[in-house]
Subunit: 215 residues, 4 copies
Amino acid sequence: MQHAKPLPSYLVQRYHGWKATTYAENAAWYRRLADEGQRPRAMIISCCDSRVHVTSIFGADQGEFFIHRNIANLVPPYEPDGAQHGTSATVEYAVTVLKVAHLVVLGHSRCGGVQGCLDMCSGRAPELETKESFVGRWMDILRPGYERIENVEPEDQAQALEHQAVLVSLENLMTFPFVKEAVEKKNLTLHGLWNDIGAGGLSCYQPEKGTFEPV
Amino acid sequence: MQHAKPLPSYLVQRYHGWKATTYAENAAWYRRLADEGQRPRAMIISCCDSRVHVTSIFGADQGEFFIHRNIANLVPPYEPDGAQHGTSATVEYAVTVLKVAHLVVLGHSRCGGVQGCLDMCSGRAPELETKESFVGRWMDILRPGYERIENVEPEDQAQALEHQAVLVSLENLMTFPFVKEAVEKKNLTLHGLWNDIGAGGLSCYQPEKGTFEPV
Amino acid sequence: MQHAKPLPSYLVQRYHGWKATTYAENAAWYRRLADEGQRPRAMIISCCDSRVHVTSIFGADQGEFFIHRNIANLVPPYEPDGAQHGTSATVEYAVTVLKVAHLVVLGHSRCGGVQGCLDMCSGRAPELETKESFVGRWMDILRPGYERIENVEPEDQAQALEHQAVLVSLENLMTFPFVKEAVEKKNLTLHGLWNDIGAGGLSCYQPEKGTFEPV
Amino acid sequence: MQHAKPLPSYLVQRYHGWKATTYAENAAWYRRLADEGQRPRAMIISCCDSRVHVTSIFGADQGEFFIHRNIANLVPPYEPDGAQHGTSATVEYAVTVLKVAHLVVLGHSRCGGVQGCLDMCSGRAPELETKESFVGRWMDILRPGYERIENVEPEDQAQALEHQAVLVSLENLMTFPFVKEAVEKKNLTLHGLWNDIGAGGLSCYQPEKGTFEPV
């Protein structure tokens, strides 16, 4: 691998700052976590978006959350076909090996992936429909969500589809036999959240109302 | 989606703490990030492991890093076959849409996914070899790395394979035409890191030496 | 004291979250509590175990409960010999100075201290029998309880001894002249509780039945 | 034990509220904590005072903190004489069995126990000097602290002695061989805090300055 470069200096500097402060203050705990293994209480599935930091919002410290981040916080349906399913692997590991108690899907406002899906499904982004578009094929997971919101007023469609990205993922999670079993045995609870980046808001899906309500 | 539950109270409390402090102090910046979109300088590919928080290690603030986290921080080879490739979608989005300047693969010590790969490749984990094992199929990406370390002393194999998880990913990244082009045009640099959880160490791959050296 | 370190950052962050929310919403009451002194209605004697939070179970707010927590929620007998008796001091202060109306002893399931006592009394933990074992000497308080349960079926002994930890403490409380007097003058009531951690259960000792019954 | 009474109805009602909300939302985690045992990251030694809730200040959830509460958050010196030392037993269990990473002594303003010690040491509370006074004998632990502050201005003595209650306890902790060893091996860090109840303040002892500074 000849193309690897030294770490940019701004990151080197920040690392040394962390090492001298946060790490130094918590070294005993970090060593113990390393020796005894992790026991996170919850798994969070969140977006890669640089503006959404679940570790900040929930004051997450090392050892607390098993975090998967992908484009638009999507979970595909259960498909044990022998192909590579990175997201399904994270869910399998969290539920069957780590036995987390809570699984949270965290969506957010102004999601570029969801906007791409909206453009693609409404015919405005033919480049996303090609076989070569990884983002387009990934966003196919959200097509069932688009069908439910295509009659929403245009200016409200993006947020409605962001909510659907959470709901479709929660529905797909229940197609995994080990998730379904853990939920039915009350060893696991599922939660759907949506973060308003600009307003710092957080709302939670309430099935009885069918809406996301501020926590 | 009838199975969604209210957010556990300890997370509600922590969110309100964040809202009243970190958010309140930075609301203007968060609003601007929401309105103008993200412009992250770097993408980080890291593990889901609860003990590895790149946001902590690099003092990441909102808007700075586009972060993908999966099992064992792996990137598969370029395979534009129309199937769903969640990790490839994150790379495509970061490099072609966000045009990040740096792409960092961050491995770590005591990685459960890498240990599973080691067990599987050495014949000690037949359950990971089934078609139904999402974790096993995902770790197939690292098989070429195993071949390079199978003659290493047994007690050193885990760490050697954790290093390979970084190197194989960097190699696979270069099979993506848009990554290769951005690297060759010097619009993008690639970096391989490995974090020692217990010691708080961070080392960076140096191609001229062929080793990971402390930053 | 040269060995004191700065507070770990995760606790600093949580404190600031509390200050900006819970404290800010209740500052007037906290100031008044500070100026006028506490007037708690009840004293709770509970275990140090991190899984038992009386403040959570009883929705305790500042000013409501005077709480003593030690290993296995034990109270020794009255012994005014001039030696240091930390637990007896808490009872004396609560009953004679604060004049609490209720005194609750709260035991719990899976108690490590009680298990240690069981191991020690049945000869399986000689290390707890040495003079140097603070835990062993402390658990001596519960030896009279062990004598009452040693004929119980082995699989039921741990819970039976957890119940005895509550009962022996209640009995010992009555050996304190100021407790006995307050009880007899009906200025104080005693209560024995046992919390099932996993099931979230709470049962209360009923003298007429001689058993713990769900509240 | 004939004197035990049913639980007061206000506590029954609160328990049922907790069971239906906090417990219900976290039942999977509580079951797991019960089955797998606790692994608290820190031990807190705090006062019984009803106005000081470390669980509130640090947003403590079940499983996070091993908490000992006694009069004036005091730790006696190491004294392996075979007598009952309840506080020493909690420290022994936390450090040698649970292997906590942090040990925090949390003092507070308007401490009744500290005020009693001040009165006793300055000759204004002869009733606390009797052999029969459990509070008086317990507060003897703080006499070395009084000697250091007796020349402080009278109106500042109470707070100065509250600070000493933290410092004397930290010093005494270092007389326990297992504490000293864990600190020297960097497996344990000690921290001294003082909480201003009315102002919601929190300050941390800094050995290099010799003072408590706001966190």
